[in-house]
Amino acid sequence: ILFLLIMLLSPCVLLHAIMCRVSCSYGYAWDANEEYLFKAMVAFAMRRYSSKSTTQISNVLLCNVTDRVSFWFVVTDSTKNVTTVPGSEVEEAVRMNRNRINSAFLLNDKTLQFLKISSTLSPPVEPSTPVWLIVFGVVLCLTVAGIVFLIVSGIQRKNKESSETENLEEKCEVTVTIENGIPCETLDLKAGHINGVYAADDERFTSL
């Protein structure tokens, strides 16, 4: 058994081991089942990276698991006799599939840390039109619409006022011209009035 332990421990001394640190205060405790899932994920990553389906869960070895939860792990290659896969290959495999590994544990790059593997920074999603331009367009349209409405209503009001004053002036012209207190219309100037006083005197004058 001692021999087996030594066999298991020795890979971690090798240079190809990668340190991993888990902050698992997020709802579950780190136990043997979690370790099994971790081994499965690393094997999955290795399979996808090298596209040869030979990596088994038993090829992934964890060691020096502390209470903090941090540990070292190596991946052995069963095709070649008990040699470990170079660290750079493992790093690359994990980096490629980082997202999947994180999601399996419901963790992110900060809570599931692989030391020496820097996370590739994904650029933020940029929509084709920046959002602020759309909002700005809305604000500007409302403002211009308001201005146009007010100017047009101002012009309409002015036209209405000037047409009202015109109507008023016409009404004034229609007012009757007054001569000596008697409206002209009642005095029918075309047809003259015969003054009855003078008409009666016609008979007094002798005819020639």
């Binding site: 640190r21 902050s23 698992c24 205060s25 502390t66 209470d67 903090r68 939860v69 941090s70 920074l121 650029p123 933020p124 959002v131 602020w132 909002v135 700005f136 604000v139 500007l140 403002t143 211009v144 308001g146 201005i147 007010l150 100017i151 101002g154 002015k158």
Partner: protein, 624 residues
């Protein structure tokens, strides 16, 4: 000769003078309150409270309010209401020698309108960016080759980067102008468009708009108050703000700051208040109005400082917790201790324990010392408070978009209602000057004013624009106002004579101004203004005018680089401060010379004779 001119206006002729008027009294009061309550109530008063001993600052503040703020406010409102004219014509009516006071306040209104709307442009830019998820100031962008974060952003913070680079695109020096920032130009156009929309027909349109822009900020402040008080760390912030330190009252700076804050907060000497009250019916109680507006303004300042400091306390506490958490993580990682063994509460005991047992390891970790007081001490006023500190705090709140949108709409409304007052201070005197014919539509005049202001304000959208706005704010928006207000009080108290003014006020309000008004108008306010003016000038001269430049290449970046203004910029500063004030003596001198020239020529007939003859010829001859 001017003293013989009667300024009594008979009541009957007022009904037909065709002057626009307020729809109701509430609109007028709301407009005055909106003008007085501005951005300074939110971002200057809480800062002053904090640095000047918390609750103790309220003592000099209220003393300044009673002896300087309210008397001057009453004076301006009564003046405008009685003379029913804008600032230039009103002061011309009081005395042609004092016409310069009106011209000076008109000039200040012009200068302030120019740069104030650019501040609103920044607010609008942040507002339209608040609709994004995640907020653009919460993450640093990547650098060109996508290997890491942008360097300038990484060394300062994402919030700083968004303000200085993405918004202002600031140049490292005030002499380097940079280019016009097209996004700011667009927002500036939109802002001036909104101002035009609201002031298109003078008080007819602003009177409607003010219902929204004056009341909405109070709603948002209340929402922030309720939310802010529920945030962790709010009580620390409030305790820090209001804990009185009475020793601070021995420092004359505190009294000076209180006096200047009251003065600028009430928006006195801009001419806008005179313009607003000139549209009032003549028999209106201006005394009650003045006291109401002043008290509402002060209460708003206090009311606004509560949510501001709750949020600042929350931000300081979050920063302190982050500092602690980072230290805890490094200790846990170094010593491979289980998670949750060290928490914030037992951090200090653990540190002591580990320091005694493994001092070298602890020293090797280079832990930062986390002090809550230090985080609370990071006090900022002005644009820094709104665009850096508050935006950082908003990111930490759940639902940050909604809070950011609310906050920036509130700032926009506050600034817009103050802009109405500024524009009215420019608009009303122009309408009354003889240079504009009566048939020109108001829409055209306000359009031309807004267009010219927009074109001039394009200078503030350059790379160095924010440095220029600081210059304008410190020099054009401060000293001339003190001078103009001083001459206002002196003019009314000693040229127009208080007895006559009291009679006018009695005619308007129905009661004689009591002893408080008499004493403050005659002696206390002018004296106080003189002292404040002298102290202000002395302080300005003592400290060499310098500014903090944002220079990414500075060795102590992200600290600001202290630079001195070059001589030509200093000349502009002096010009800005002196130009509005110079009109006061200039106009007086002009009239004095005119009078002297007029009296030298004996053949010139005094104008009164002509008017009598003219009047005679108009009367129909009774014998015809």
């Amino acid at each position: 000769m001017s003293k013989d001119l009667s300024v009594d206006v008979s009541p009957e002729s007022l009904k037909e003078d065709g002057r626009p008027k307020w729809d109701n009294k509430f609109q007028y009061i709301l407009s005055c309150i909106g003008f007085a309550v501005g951005l300074g109530n939110v971002w200057r008063f809480p800062y002053l409270c904090q640095i000047h001993g918390g609750g103790a600052f309220l003592i000099p503040y209220f003393i300044a309010l009673i002896f300087e703020g309210i008397p001057l406010l009453h004076l301006e409102l009564a003046l405008g209401q009685h003379l029913r004219k804008g600032s230039i014509s009103a002061w011309n009516t009081i005395s042609p020698y004092l016409g310069g006071v009106g011209v000076g306040s008109w000039m200040v209104s012009v200068l302030v309108s120019l740069y104030y709307n650019t501040v609103l442009t920044w607010v609008m830019w942040y507002f339209i960016n608040s609709f994004q998820e995640p907020l653009p100031w919460s993450v640093c962008p990547l650098n060109e080759n996508r290997t890491g974060l942008n360097e300038e952003c990484y060394e300062s913070t994402a919030v700083n980067y968004f303000w200085y680079r993405k918004t202002l695109n600031i140049t490292p020096d005030v002499t380097e102008n940079g280019t016009l920032q097209w996004w700011l130009v667009l927002c500036l156009a939109a802002c001036w468009g909104i101002v035009y929309l609201c002031t298109i027909r003078g008080i007819e349109t602003t009177g409607k708009a003010i219902y929204v822009t004056a009341i909405f900020p109070y709603l948002v402040l209340t929402i922030f108050l309720i939310h802010g008080l529920t945030l962790p760390g709010a009580t620390e912030g409030l305790a820090y703000l209001f804990t009185p330190n009475l020793n601070i009252l021995k420092n004359p700076h505190v009294w000076l700051d209180a006096a200047t804050q009251i003065f600028f907060s009430l928006s006195l000497a801009f001419g806008g208040l005179i313009a607003f009250s000139s549209y009032n019916p003549p028999k209106n109680d201006c005394e009650k109005d003045a006291v109401t507006v002043a008290i509402v303004n002060c209460m708003t300042s206090l009311y606004a400082s509560i949510p501001v400091f709750s949020v600042l306390g929350f931000k300081a506490t979050t920063g302190y917790w982050d500092c602690l958490d980072r230290n805890i993580i490094s200790i846990i990682n170094k010593f491979d201790l289980p998670e949750q063994s060290i928490v914030r509460q037992n951090y200090t005991t653990w540190i002591r324990l580990l320091n005694s047992s493994y001092p070298e390891k602890i020293a090797g970790l280079k832990l930062k010392s986390c002090d809550l007081q230090e985080f609370l001490d990071q006090s900022v006023s002005g644009t820094g408070l709104a665009f850096i500190i508050f935006t950082q705090a908003v990111i930490l709140m759940p639902g940050s978009q909604a809070w950011a949108i609310l906050f920036f709409i509130m700032l926009f409304s506050l600034g817009l209602s103050s802009m109405f007052g500024n524009i009215e201070g420019v608009f009303t005197p122009l309408l009354e000057l003889q240079i504009i014919s009566k048939s020109t539509p108001k829409e055209l005049i306000s359009g031309i004013i807004c267009l010219i202001s927009f074109l001039i304000a394009l200078c503030f959208t350059l790379g160095s624009g924010s440095y220029w706005i600081d210059i304008f704010d410190s020099y054009a928006g401060s000293l001339p106002l003190l001078v103009i207000a001083f001459f206002e009080v002196i003019g009314v108290a000693y040229v127009y004579k208080i007895k006559r003014f009291s009679k006018d006020v009695k005619w308007m309000t129905g009661r004689n101004p009591n002893l408080y008004w008499q004493i403050t108008w005659r002696y206390i306010s002018p004296l106080l203004l003189l002292i404040v003016f002298v102290a202000f000038v002395t302080l300005q001269i003592q400290k060499s005018p310098s500014y903090g430049a944002w220079n990414p290449k500075y060795e102590d970046f992200p600290m600001k680089e202290e630079k001195v203004y070059p001589p030509w910029v200093l000349a502009i500063c002096v010009l800005l401060a002196v130009f509005p004030c110079i009109f006061v003596p200039l106009v007086a001198l002009f009239h004095l010379i005119k009078r002297m020239l007029g009296s030298k020529d004996p053949s010139s007939v005094p104008p009164e004779v002509f008017s009598c003859q003219g009047a005679n010829s108009n009367f129909p001859h009774p014998k015809i």
